[in-house]
């Protein structure tokens, strides 16, 4: 009797917890979208003049623009019209390119998507390997790995980008300095240096967090017990250390996603790649608002979705994470 009640309660709190998490994510995206839309209204002076960057327009054109961006309506009306279009993947027309923002972004998604995935794989594989190796080996390996991780964590992406560019493409000529290449192999070859530049900070952070998590698990008594009972080191590490340390590592990977997205802006500019990041940078400097708003909204949405998914996956990866517990 008591048990079934507890079970039911647990089930209810679990559903409620998922709902709460999803609601939090929706609320975040909602407020962020109001901010992103409001930024245009905040622009000093006439937003249309700010958008056109001083280009001369006829009064009719100005009026058409005001109408197009809902500036002739109240804030809420204008916002609702904008977000309604955005939900249908219509972010308006670029001031600079005179084409739809959606097609501008989708045309560049290939480069940025491959870049983000490529660098994420590099950072995760190497970060995980270094974290595990240094935690297990300890001693000198651990100290060297600690220094490498501290330095890579602190290396700004634009510094790694120009360093790699100067050394491996201009200096040694191993990799191309610009362009994204065509075809899969050529593209990967072109994007290797940019991906490494982007991955460096994420690698450092992962190596540090992973090392701390693995080291903590290795110190636990059940690991000691398993070893003393003759379980092989590999099995102990796989079953007891890695599995238990996975939760904090996954959380960090979710958070690093934002830094990778920002990294595309820097790296695509440094390597002359035509991606979403460099589009964002050039649109910001030209004050091409529809493009900036579209990319910003998509970025926030992706970031919130990834982190919410990570949160929701937590209880499955690590059953010790109590649903709705004080850990928030």
């Amino acid at each position: 009797m008591k048990r079934t009640l507890a079970d039911r309660n647990r089930k209810r709190t679990f559903a409620g917890w998922i709902g709460k998490r999803a609601l939090g994510g929706v609320l975040t995206v909602l407020l962020a979208s109001i901010l992103i839309y409001g930024a245009l209204r905040l622009a000093p002076g006439d937003p249309v003049l700010a958008m056109t960057g001083g280009r001369r327009l006829t009064p009719d054109q100005v009026e058409a623009l005001r109408h197009r961006y809902g500036l002739d309506q109240g804030f809420m009306q204008g916002y609702l019209a904008w977000i309604g279009d955005a939900l249908r993947l219509d972010f308006g027309t670029s001031m600079n390119y005179q084409t739809s923002v959606t097609s501008l972004i989708t045309n560049r998604l290939g480069v940025s998507g491959v870049l983000i995935l490529y660098s994420a794989v590099l950072a995760i594989v190497f970060g995980f390997a270094v974290a595990l190796a240094s935690a297990v080996k300890g001693g000198l390996v651990n100290r060297v790995a600690g220094i490498v991780a501290a330095v890579t964590t602190a290396t700004p992406t634009f510094v790694s980008a120009i360093g790699l560019l100067a050394l491996f493409s201009v200096g040694l000529g191993w990799f191309p300095a610009t362009g994204a290449g065509t075809g899969l192999a050529d593209r990967l070859w072109h994007l290797t240096l940019p991906a490494v530049a982007m991955a460096i900070v994420a690698f450092g952070v992962l190596a540090r967090v992973g090392n701390a998590a693995f080291a903590e698990e290795l110190r636990r008594e059940h690991v000691e017990v398993a070893r003393s009972r003759g379980v092989s080191t590999a099995a102990v590490i796989r079953r007891h250390v890695v599995r238990n340390a996975l939760a904090p590592i996954l959380t960090i990977i979710g958070l690093l996603f934002a830094s990778l997205f920002v990294g595309t802006a820097v790296v695509e500019t440094a390597f002359g790649l035509d991606g979403v990041g460099s589009l964002l940078v050039s649109s910001v400097s030209r004050r091409d608002f529809p493009v900036v708003q579209g990319i910003a909204l998509i970025a926030v949405l992706l970031f919130v979705v990834v982190n919410t998914l990570v949160d929701l996956a937590m209880p499955f990866i690590d059953p010790r994470v109590t649903v709705g517990g004080p850990g928030r």
Partner: protein
Amino acid sequence: MTLTIPALRARSAKRRRRRPLIVSLAVAFLILVAAMGLLAPVLAPHSPDATSLLNSLLPPGAEGHWLGTDSTGRDVLSRIMYGARLSLLAPLGVVLLSGLLGTAIGLLAARAGGWADAVLSRGMDIVFAFPSMLLAMLVVAVFGPGLTAPICALAVSYTPFVGRVVRSVAIQEGTRPYMESYRVMGFGELWVTLRHLLPNVVPVLVAQSTLAFGYALVDLAALSYLGLGVRPPDADWGSMISQARSAILQGEPWSGLLPGLVVLLTVVSVNVLGEHIGGSIGRKQSEGA
């Protein structure tokens, strides 16, 4: 049992050891960089803006130009010295603003509790979910390039980074007997919070602000690198690197690599210092417990 003894020994050894060498090196480097910025007019061998096309792209170690020159013949060492001013002052502004905001919000949330705490904490979660560089770029799109708007944007963005920690320490401290005794003695809530609780929050505030300084330095330098930060003729390390782009492609990378190295060493030093401060607070707390 055998597991705990070496751990205990390591801890007491660490406690006895004074400041680690690496921390001293970091502090020394930061003082050096700050002094370079402060005393740039006295120390710099050349004017940072004096161009000389005859002496362009000299390598480090050249006659009269220790760190060489950039593509228009400007002295790289002098430019790094003058660049230190904006490169360090701008993140300092971010840290001061976010420290002030974060402390105010953190203390308010902790002391008020209830719905005020819920709203403020949720608000900080939401700000935290918005990538700081994205917010900075958004305000640049609105207000145009320059450092003032990004400084304010980053300050808002980093407020949760400070505010969350201040809140949790203030909640911890709030349950201690000394707080209750001051209240019993009839002191007002605001007085007790500012006079007696705030000083106990300062150590974590300093630790978080030091780390935030490093992040802000990287973010602002990246903005300048992207051409969205400082406007010419002003220059910081980020814009120096940006201007070296064509030289790097020509195989003369030094005018970009050297300011990059200075950024890297500064950020490493700031991180080492911040982690040292944070770590020593942790040790002090475990001693007190």
